[in-house]
Amino acid sequence: MKMEAMSLSGLDNTKLEALAHDIYSDLVEDACLGLCFEVHRAVKQGYFFLDETDQDSMKDFEIVDQPGVDIFGQVYNQWKNKECVCPNCSRSIAASRFAPHLEKCLGMGRNSSRIANRRIASSNNMSKSESDQEDNDDINDNDWSYGSEKKAKKRKSDKVFLRSLKQPVLLNPNSPRRSKSLKHKNGELNNNVNTDPYKYNYNSGISYETLGPEELRSLLTTQCGVISEHTKKMCTRSLRCPQHTDEQRRTVRVFLPGPSASTLPDVDAVVESDGYDVSDGQALMNRLQWDGSSDISPSDSASSKASTNNSDSKKPKKKKKPSLGLSSSGTGGTGGGTGGGPGTAGSGSSSQGVLSLPSRKKKPKLPAPPTPSIYDDMN
């Protein structure tokens, strides 16, 4: 089979086909030879055994396709007790609560600045025994894993009990005497730097007895203020704190500040002004004993209007539905608009607004109180 250069032009179809077939079979034979060499080399170099697998353990990893179980053959929803260690604070957190914990831990998110401000204010005015201004949100957030949560609650109740024994019950709001315990007001007082912003405290709130009228009023414009039956302190959460109802808030505002105080501004914008006389401390105390406990379920409001307001406090009690943050382009003018390109990724797509939405059903947002007008006639 001597090889020589050959022109294809003079050949007819059968010859061309025969040639093509020859070339094809040569190629196939060469390919087979290549495979033989591969195997031969693998055997000689000692890695041919890698082709073998362990049949039994292969069976362990077969995909399962049956109702009620996942592909591993596991029943759904058995992963409730997973925990992880926060890389920021090194605490052990329940996995399903890690995201909200991390949000606070990193100081991000809508509530964090409020919480941080409160801490800043409180830590400046606290004596050592009172250094535990609590971040009320955290107690109910169940950030802690189950074990430590129990401990935390226990400690809190101890402290509260001691404190209420210590302090005199002063019902005259005009008294100049104040306990040092008092003063956190959402950062209104001081702006000193808090040395330990993330220390979780177990206080129960503000003692209303020691507040002056003005302080009381301004407090009530920004805070829930409902007095806890258990601790006799005012709730320091936001005006929409889901642990207390609007009814309770209204009542506090009726009874505490004095005669012509208006109530908490609410959705209906009803202003009630009772001519109430703060005369009898005991009577006041009696009135302030709520029947309702302080652990009302927060997430049962029927209204679920989407709100872009960032000031909602979030209270998870039930299993949360994952919520949806939304971004979308409202502009139709730019032909379709591309998504966030690499260069603009930091701000998302050029035409997308970023939205935060609470996942749980929320009570309707309350309009801001018309502050000056309410308290003008006081003092």
Partner: protein
Amino acid sequence: GVPRLVEWHKQRATSGFAAPSSPNQSECSHLQKLHRGSSFSSPVVEHVSSSSSSSLKTKTSIEPKGKHGTGALDVASAMSPAACSHVNGFKVDNWKQNLRVIYRCFVWSGSAETRKRKAKSCVCHVCGAHLSRLHSCLYCVFFGCFAKKHIHEHAKSKRHNLAIDLLYGGIYCFVCQDYIYDKDMEQIAKEEQRKAWKLQGTSHLFAPAGIGERYSTWEPTKRELELLQHNPKRRRITTNCTIGLRGLINLGNTCFMNCIVQALTHTPLLRDFFLSDRHKCEMKPNSCLVCEMSQLFQEFYSGHRSPHIPFRLLHLVWTHARHLAGYEQQDAHEFLIAALDVLHRHCKGDDNGKKANNPNHCNCIIDQIFTGGLQSDVTCQVCHGVSTTIDPFWDISLDLPGSSTPFWPLSPGSDGSVVNGESQMSGATTLTDCLRRFTRPEHLGSSAKIKCSGCHSYQESTKQLTMKKLPIVACFHLKRFEHSAKLRRKITTYVSFPLELDMTPFMASSKESRMNGQYQQSMDTLNNDNKYSLFAVVNHQGTLESGHYTTFIRQHKDQWFKCDDAIITKASIKDVLDSEGYLLFYHKQFLEYE
């Protein structure tokens, strides 16, 4: 894992077998290497369970399994079992250079001239044949065919006991009567082969650069071989295997992150990149998102059945993408872009020095996979001059019918032409419809005049977007969440999307050929450049206020799975194609060298 292995080795030592040092666990995890595979074939991963190998403690001895190679494995390790001592006679004087010449001239032909020369000169000196497994003697200039034993005769008569196979470059020893593998000689062979590959393609027909690196399959090192031998519970990832799939715990409304993680861990090229340890980190420990991504792949391929807890991932993403600001920001699409951005920023160490060829001018793996180029042509209505810009993109956001901006008609006077097998006249809106709308010429109106450099004045113009360069993975974002001033709602219009997608009609090059009068009504079926396959679909169920993300992912070519946080179940193709669709991930079908 490790303590048991140590025990077992001790046992072996006392029973008289040689006990090599015990492999440690970190070595085992790196054995999940990829050594073959195209886009959707199962990766041939040698999977070794590094823990929970419960049967190890019951083994008291190990025999090398399999019939082959038993003898080779028993040979003392002083010399590689595959070599022979007879090459020593050859390895004298200038043997290396001589060998190189033989490889260069007669074995690996890189250019057309060398091919011609090889074809002409390599014939059997005895019978003139050139195709019967021709071998060249290593000691003198003699070619003889193997099939007819002419080379054998030469070896016997001349006592030249080494020959080289001219087709594959293997060295044959006539004394051992077998092909042998000598480390030094193989090194030379490999180098010459690489050089020849680089030469290929330098003829005037091809681009100046060569074809590139010749793909070589993974070969285990001696150490790795030892480890693999001592861990016989090896598994291959077949089509019926769960390895590579894993659930993800929801950390508190983090399904938006979980769904993206599932899509990324099932992107074949990303999987290949991370499983072959390509990332070289230049950042402080525990602060690099790419390292965490790498760790994520290890977790997915670990064989663990319990869902993974991606808390470190969340922490890193929030640390590096502060604008996501808390877990209330929960759009999966936004998370995808932010994650790609952070990964891209952290990939600095992986720049392999090659010139970046994508519109983002970066060579990191993220840009190589995800970055495409979007061409925007603004045409002046008066002088018809065109101003063109090309912007990088990681995804394409598509408007849907049902939003406040009108969807139909796609363009003035458009007909019901058939594209991708779907026509406009049929009921459901298709992905192709959305893409056609995206690439339609749009009249910008008299209120948005553009300064035309040709006319030197403000003129009305039309604008059109087309794809200049398609990424390897194309992500389509269906804009289902409307946030205009008047209303906020979710658009649930069903959009049908195909399993296979041809992007050719939307390319800038197609537009040019249309404009030049070359109408291509039929698709060029031989052109595979723009063909894409669906591999992941992120869905959102629920309303604007409260919803849940899940992902369908494709594994092993035609198996689909539904990933719902911690629960992974099998899904049918019908489930996938019937779903609403929010983010659609398509992978190029055919990957070619640059």
